[in-house]
Symmetry: C2
Subunit: 162 residues, 2 copies
Amino acid sequence: MPDSLTIGELSVRSGVAPSALRYYERLGLIRADRTGGNQRRYARAELRRVAFIRISQQVGISLDEIRAALDSLPEGRTPSPQDWARLSASWQSRLDEKIRLLTELRDNLDGCIGCGCLSLQRCVLNNPGDALGGEGPGARLMLPRPTGDPTLAGTPSGVTRG
Amino acid sequence: MPDSLTIGELSVRSGVAPSALRYYERLGLIRADRTGGNQRRYARAELRRVAFIRISQQVGISLDEIRAALDSLPEGRTPSPQDWARLSASWQSRLDEKIRLLTELRDNLDGCIGCGCLSLQRCVLNNPGDALGGEGPGARLMLPRPTGDPTLAGTPSGVTRG
DNA sequence: CCTTTAGTTGAAGTGCACTTCAACTAAAGG
DNA sequence: CCTTTAGTTGAAGTGCACTTCAACTAAAGG
């Protein structure tokens, strides 16, 4: 039973290019043993780490943050399902927030584009960073026509909030 | 009545850095007249274009696609609220899809990370591209333990789908 | 009028997440 | 055993969305 994978095998099984796997290793996200001939051999558990990395990226987490999360896994033993559940739970609120903001955006897209969003600085839609992914200062919905600009006095938006 | 804005004014009102505004102009996203001394003067309607750009970026649209959308606006006249509504509507389905995928991801995050997602290639969570933003080949939910890998035979996931 | 503040340009730099390349070596197959 | 396929490295390149820099000019304020 070959309980280690070559980089090509890991690549095929994970759907991640070998060059990306080497890159993850350089960043300390995954690890590999070496054969006598200096080739990488991955423990099967690395497959799960790669899966976690890709999933986390979908949540909008940077590789640096993912590395930090992976670093919190226990050393010495293969992480248990509980360990993985803990990490996944730590992304949950990020994901919830992201969904909340995108939903708000969807529900106000017409009105916000219609109004020209003069108050871009305070608009939900102007949440800087990675597509609504940040934890920054809370996003707010746009205010109704904050200036009396005739050029932009279109649809009076009724979507204000706190 | 000063019906044009300097780059500094547009920057403050839009919350977008002057360097970014110049960059948008180079890409053909916005335009400016010039003073005798070669300084940019923006028509007030440009503010709405900038707002549209930022909002679209939140939806996950690239500047190139945004430019294409803006190019579809009527030339010669200031776009009407209907024009903007049309553009906003064109993002709606992208946004819906994005929300759908993120919601699926949220609802399956535990299970998927728990199972190790051996079938990453076919997992919703492995939707390549910009954080679930693509229109690629439809994403699928993960299959239950597609290989009989003991290392990863954790929680039997019940979240399969067509 | 002079100083300060705001603007101009093209070129180069930044950060992220990789990929590509050249010049190799190792392992597997017939 | 030889060829093919798969692996190795460090350095450089890619694409996106900008920002920074140097060396200037323009406009505004007192």
